[in-house]
């Protein structure tokens, strides 16, 4: 059991390092060329796609890093038994009678 948890922890540390490295490379790539990239990304029009795509890419890499980092540090979500809210939804009205094909005459 302890060996399994140790293995899981090791895997988590490796993942944190991997995503951390990817994130660091991405940040280094942008900030080492910031003088060129910043005005290029701010040309407006179709160039708007560049900053938007950039933040999406950074979010996936850095987001994964952040998630693994908190997990490595032992900060993980706990599931609690859901506390039932008092029922407030109004019950649906009773179904209306379906139209009949035959008429009772």
């Amino acid at each position: 059991m302890a060996a399994r948890s140790e293995e899981k922890r090791k895997k988590l540390v490796l993942k944190t390092m991997l995503y951390g490295t990817i994130t660091a490379i991405l940040y280094a790539a942008v900030f080492s060329h910031a003088d060129m990239i910043t005005p290029y990304f701010a040309q407006g029009g179709y160039y708007a796609a560049l900053p938007i795509a950039t933040v999406f890419i950074f979010s996936f890499a850095h987001g994964a890093f952040a998630h693994n980092l908190w997990s490595t540090l032992g900060i993980e979500a706990v599931t609690k038994p859901a506390t039932a809210r008092s029922r407030t939804t109004v019950p649906r009205p009773a179904e209306r009678p379906r139209p009949r094909l035959r008429v009772n005459a």
Binding site: G63, H67, V78, R85
Partner: protein, 364 residues
């Protein structure tokens, strides 16, 4: 248009102090956003402006970090079963209309009373909305039972849920059935406030709690969906005008992605009424901060006369109070998290609370 935008935008030089400031505020703002669904923008935008960033670039760069942060927060909280996507989409649709209305009102005021009039309108909206709504949330939070039981649904929400006005919508995750006509005003007001003071969540979250009748945890998580959609729309608009400074955005994002995940994890440790405690506290302190900014605009409109020294002091105190609001929010969240974590660890000796598997959401 593009060339004009590039010429008009002046990108500031970054110093280590600027970077540290943006990263820290980004982290704390992210923490608060991950927990209550919004926050951070009210400090980040004026904060960037105080560093010399032009107002439009500050708003655009802030918005460009807001939507990916909200996306990550929403995804994380969706994994915890706290997001009602349908409610988020319905709210976001009406909020989009609200944003347009808010912009039109701003333009009207700007044309008629100039920049000082517009600033006064923003500050008065801030103070009025935050004092009334925030004051109520604050009062409700401190009078609520802190015993961990689920928040009871408010009287107004109960009444509205009982009115059968088609089309009725059933929000499955939130377990609420209500007429669409009662969700539209909440979404609309959220958008209008977002266009006015850049923090729509200060209306959106209390609106979902007290009008629609959704719990605090689910409201704050669903607000992240609204923030993502509205932030993405706003970013496209600003980026097409070439106003995003990608360096500022990425620095803030670096802090906020760490913070938003911590805040989201924090919601699983605390009792539901803590959302209201944090939100109410922040709103009331921010209202005080904005009230301190009102005299400056009244002087510009020649309604009152105050010495420039006093105005300068008021301006500094106003900004510091805003930072204080964010700081207090973060301290309450971290305090509640530590307390909740200890309680969970103690409970582990008895009935162990299951940890959410890290494997299940490893990509964000």
């Amino acid at each position: 248009m593009h060339d004009t935008a590039v010429e008009a935008v002046k990108f500031i030089d970054l110093t280590w102090m600027n970077i540290a400031f943006l990263f820290t505020v980004g982290f704390i703002g992210g923490l608060v956003s991950g927990f209550i669904g919004s926050g951070g923008a009210f400090v980040l935008t004026p904060g960037m402006m105080s560093l010399g960033v032009p107002a439009a670039v500050a708003v655009a760069s802030n918005m460009c970090h807001k939507f990916p942060k909200a996306m990550v927060g929403a995804y994380k909280r969706y994994k915890y079963g706290q997001v009602d996507i349908k409610l988020g989409l319905v709210m976001a649709a009406s909020a989009t209309v609200g944003v347009q209305a808010g912009i039109k009102i701003q333009e009207m005021i700007l044309t008629r009373w100039g920049e000082a009039g517009s600033n006064l309108y923003v500050s008065v909206s801030f103070v009025a909305v935050l004092l009334i709504v925030g004051g109520y949330v604050f009062y409700d939070a401190w009078t609520a039972k802190g015993d961990g039981s689920a928040d009871p649904v408010g009287a107004l929400a109960k009444k509205l849920q009982g009115i059968n006005l088609p089309p009725m919508i059933h929000f499955k995750t939130a377990n609420v059935r209500i007429s669409l006509w009662f969700t539209i005003p909440v979404g609309f007001a959220t958008g209008m406030l977002a266009a006015t003071i850049a923090v729509g969540g200060f209306i959106g979250v209390p609106g979902m709690i007290y009008v629609v009748g959704v719990g605090g945890l689910m409201s704050s998580a669903t607000e992240l969906v609204i923030a993502f959609l509205m932030g993405l729309g706003g970013t496209v608009k600003w980026a097409m005008h070439g106003m995003v400074d990608i360096r500022l955005t990425l620095i803030i994002l670096a802090g906020s992605l760490l913070g938003v995940q911590l805040g989201a994890i924090g919601t699983t440790y605390v009792k539901e009424h803590m959302i209201k405690v944090v939100m109410g506290t922040i709103m009331v302190i921010v209202a005080v901060s904005r009230a301190l900014a009102v005299p400056e605009y009244l002087v510009q409109l020649k309604v009152i006369s105050v010495t420039p020294q006093v105005l300068s002091i008021l301006s500094i105190v106003s900004f510091l109070t805003m930072c204080f609001a964010l700081g207090v929010g973060a301290v309450i969240i971290l305090g509640a998290m530590i307390k909740g974590k200890r309680a969970a660890e103690q409970a582990a000796y008895g009935t162990a609370p299951a940890r959410v598997s890290s494997e299940s959401y490893e990509h964000v």
